[in-house]
């Protein structure tokens, strides 16, 4: 059997509906993974900045710089 790529895209006339369904689903699934992963990176970044500030404040107090 030879693979007919045109017939595959056309899907017996239902191509638009079928590819819209699979395309949209992919977008929704990927968004549900990518968005929380980005949020995780942001939280880590903010947390690091917070810890760095805290450490800096402690150092200042130790060396008597804080007025």
């Amino acid at each position: 059997m030879q693979f007919d790529s045109f017939a595959f895209v056309a899907m017996g006339g239902y191509g638009f509906y079928i590819w819209a369904v699979y395309g949209l689903s992919m977008v929704v699934l990927i968004a549900n993974i990518v968005v929380p992963r980005r949020t995780m990176k942001r939280i880590q970044f903010e947390q690091q900045a917070f810890i760095a500030r805290e450490n800096l404040a402690e150092k200042k107090i130790d060396s008597g710089e804080e007025k």
């Binding site: 595959f8 899907m11 017996g12 006339g13 239902y14 509906y17 079928i18 819209a20 369904v21 699979y22 949209l24 689903s25 929704v28 699934l29 968004a31 549900n32 993974i33 929380p36 992963r37 949020t39 995780m40 939280i43 880590q44 947390q47 690091q48 917070f50 810890i51």
Partner: protein, 250 residues
């Protein structure tokens, strides 16, 4: 066993355990969804009545199942939170709502994209479609209610009550195809009876359902881990974890 559950209920142990599970769950989800999609698009036969359009089923049925079971999970988490005040249940309740909303929207859209060529219309106000639309509004309502309230404890309780009350919609969705005359066909899958489809069709469908469930768990775990980090951001273990992470990244 109970000890294990007890530890899982603590945000910190949940965070650590899911950190170990996540790579495996993600790989399994990707694999099953990839295999299921290829099977559904390339190898599953066309329907003798619906032709190639039946391939929409391999997305529409799993998303519809997931829409309802993610609501069931959310309502269960809500009940657990109301009864036992377990913090992790509140976190689960908060994180599942946006995932459930997007999956329910997908179920409606894929149904619409199937309805147009098959029924000749994008939408009808029949029982199953309308009750599923109500499900979407319930998810959105839970999200909106939480974001509208300042106090986290009050918001948690209010959204939990809304989620529990909304459970009444689930049997309506389930039996809508039996109770009312509708365009929508009855269930394709039941636990007790043999499927009405040939194995060449229900096997890829089953693979897709499993893949979508795995995806749901991965997405939920990702969201819950973020929320745990946010809520516990001033604790020692989170600080240690963040510092360890940044050390490993360098």
């Amino acid at each position: 066993m109970w000890n294990w559950f007890h530890r899982l209920g603590a945000p910190r142990s949940f965070f650590e355990m899911t950190g170990r599970w996540l790579p495996w769950l993600s790989a399994a989800s990707l694999l099953t969804l990839g295999a299921g999609t290829a099977w559904a698009l390339l190898f599953a036969p066309a329907d003798y009545q619906q032709g190639e359009s039946v391939r929409i089923m391999y997305v529409h049925v799993p998303t519809s199942i997931l829409a309802q079971s993610s609501y069931m999970m959310m309502a269960t988490a809500a009940a657990v939170f109301l009864i036992w005040r377990i913090k992790l249940a509140d976190i689960a309740l908060q994180c599942i709502a946006p995932i459930g909303a997007s999956i329910t929207a997908l179920a409606l859209i894929t149904g619409s994209l199937w309805g147009k060529p098959m029924w000749g219309t994008w939408w009808v106000w029949d029982a199953r479609l309308t009750s599923t639309l109500v499900l979407l509004f319930l998810f959105i309502g839970v999200m909106a209610l939480r974001s509208a309230m300042e106090n986290r404890q009050a918001a948690g309780r209010a959204t939990a009550i809304l989620a529990v009350v909304g459970v009444i919609n689930l049997p309506i969705i389930k039996f809508s195809v039996n109770w009312w005359n509708t365009l929508h066909q009855s269930s394709s899958f039941t636990l007790t009876e043999k499927p009405a489809m040939p194995p060449e069709m229900w096997m890829p469908l089953l693979v897709m359902v499993i893949g979508f469930y795995l995806f749901l768990f991965v997405a939920l775990i990702l969201g819950m881990r973020n929320e745990i980090l946010r809520r516990e951001s001033r604790t020692q273990w989170v600080k240690q974890w963040v510092q360890e992470k940044s050390r490993n990244a360098v």
